[in-house]
């Protein structure tokens, strides 16, 4: 009778130390993460290769609907605008657009993507410090909301609207002290110095500019809800003053984004889920501030939110495999994965949760997780406790939906496929992997360099 062999796990040993426990204890109860929305990780890797990104459409929709609920149950007029820079893969954008999100873009590249996705021009918010006159003209003709970042842009816009005799719908981006330091003051006009009010005066005096909104984006991965209360109050102060001085009602306040995801920041004492305020806590302070500010009922502005990271991070997974195991000179275990910081840019900011995708024993080891790049900086986790991983074993990196698929680099290796699991559990490729041709096609070879003899 043939007996089935036992599953092999690389032999490992760990010295047991007493007196070194932290108050949270050590974590040894990792469970394998074998399925995403009911689809087997192994099957996904067999079908799409390793590494590959997987996005859960179900999680995006659930997260978005929860955020909308948090705000709409507290405030009568709410609009979300999908922050393209967070993840501008068209299929991802369209999930948000299907849910009712407008588009928030920060370059003509992103603007064009939104238009090509079918977003009506008057539902695109154009932010960002770089808008050429040609870009502004496109936004103007499409009746988009133009969020002016600096005076040079404002003068360009005044000139352009006068030339075309067409009215632009504008808002100014306002930077301010919200008690969070370092203060984000490089974008927009400063509130405390009176710069924002100067910009408002110029807009109100311009024949073809209609001041429709006020915008701010006070920071990123914000852990303090009170900063949003201060921001909402300062924008409201400007809105109320505009009404008083110019008898002009501001249509919307755009509080930008910056809500955190449940990732753990590098060097943070507590894990992400224990540190971050919930979306309801942010909604509570923002809506309370606006509702209590003293607007007349008919002047209550539309509240726009450009939340990116908190909407998409949880929905993204990176699947990968172990290339090799080795031991460093100081005795530490090192595991080399087939994904590195070139495609997991957020490894610079977060201590990403990494889970094996197959069964393992309860024995764990402290290890460094490296990527495949021949670069010293390619460290995915500088210290993590994981089970003994064998060569070829699969792992799942969690909460990678934000910024990785936009800030990734084609460097040394090529970028992998991005897939999406729909709400019925079907998987789809939404971005093909790069090939050598993808990289070399835009290159041009001068005639004299076409041949050589070695």
């Amino acid at each position: 009778m043939k007996t089935e062999k036992l599953k092999y796990e690389r032999p490992a040993i760990r010295k047991m130390n007493t007196g070194l426990m932290n108050k949270f204890g050590t974590r040894t109860e990792y469970a394998p993460f074998t399925h995403i929305d009911g689809v087997s990780v192994k099957e996904l890797i067999n079908k799409y290769g390793s590494p590959c990104f997987v996005i859960s459409e179900r999680t995006i929709r659930k997260t978005y609907q929860n955020a909308v609920r948090a705000f709409k149950t507290r405030y009568p007029k709410v609009q979300f605008a999908w922050s393209y820079k967070t993840n501008y893969i068209d299929a991802v954008c369209n999930v948000f657009h299907q849910e009712g999100s407008w588009a928030e873009v920060v370059s003509i590249f992103e603007y064009t993507k939104a238009i090509e996705n079918g977003v009506p021009g008057n539902k695109i918010i154009f932010n960002g410090p770089e808008k050429t006159k040609a870009d502004l003209q496109i936004a103007l003709e499409n009746n988009s909301y133009i969020h002016v970042d600096h005076f040079d842009e404002l003068y360009d816009l005044i000139e352009l609207t006068q030339e075309l005799k067409k009215t632009a719908k504008v808002a100014i981006r306002v930077n301010m002290d919200t008690g969070v330091y370092p203060m984000w003051d490089r974008f927009g006009f400063n509130y405390e110095s009176g710069q924002a009010w100067n910009a408002i005066n110029k807009i109100m005096a311009s024949e073809y500019l209609e001041m429709v909104g006020l915008h701010c984006h006070i920071g990123t991965f914000m852990l303090d809800t009170n900063a949003y209360a201060i921001a909402a109050a300062k924008l409201s102060d400007l809105a109320v003053n505009i009404k008083y001085v110019f008898n002009k009602t501001i249509q919307y306040l755009d509080l930008g984004g910056g809500f955190p995801s449940a990732n753990t920041l590098r060097g943070a004492y507590l894990p992400g889920p224990d540190m971050i305020p919930s979306i309801d806590e942010f909604a509570e302070v923002i809506t309370n501030t606006i509702l209590n500010y003293g607007y007349k009922k008919e002047d209550l502005p539309l509240l726009i939110l450009e939340t990116g990271r908190a909407m998409i991070d949880d929905a993204g997974y990176l699947l990968g495999s172990v290339i090799a195991n080795k031991r460093l000179s100081d005795g530490r275990r090192a595991t080399i994965m087939d994904f590195g910081v070139n495609i997991l840019f957020t490894a610079f900011w977060y201590e990403h949760k990494i889970t094996p995708a197959q069964e393992f024993s309860s024995h764990t080891e402290d290890m460094v997780i490296y990527g495949p790049l021949c670069m010293n900086i390619d460290v995915v986790r500088s210290s993590v406790t994981l089970p003994a991983l064998n060569r070829g074993d699969h792992v799942v990196v969690h909460k990678v939906g934000a910024y990785n698929m936009t800030q990734w680099m084609q460097f040394i290796a090529m970028r992998p496929k991005v897939t999406l699991i729909d709400t019925n559990g079907e998987s789809h490729v939404i971005r093909e992997n790069e090939t050598v041709k993808t990289i070399t096609e835009p290159e041009r070879m001068p005639e004299h360099l076409k041949t050589f003899n070695l």
Partner: protein
């Protein structure tokens, strides 16, 4: 290379070194190797025993074995004589 004969190894992979009081935990494959080393088995025998019991390529095991032995050396659990 010889493993200390007085090491206590439990079924669950708990190892106690009575000569200095150090204790260790190892996984099941590690515990099997230590037990086989205590029986004085050679690498060839250990490789054979492990490949009968576990689903592993001999070359993969040999590489992991070398690494495991270096860990035992780091923890002063083997003699290099």
């Amino acid at each position: 290379m010889k493993i200390h004969s007085n090491l206590a190894v439990s079924d669950s992979g708990f190892i106690f070194n009575p000569s200095n009081g150090d204790s260790f935990s190892t996984n099941v494959v590690g515990a099997d190797i230590i037990r086989l080393l205590k029986l004085g088995k050679s690498l060839t025998d250990i490789k054979k025993d492990i490949s009968v019991k576990y689903d592993v390529e001999p070359t993969v095991f040999e590489k992991d074995y070398e690494d495991f032995i270096s860990q035992l050396q780091d923890h002063f659990l083997v003699n290099n004589d």
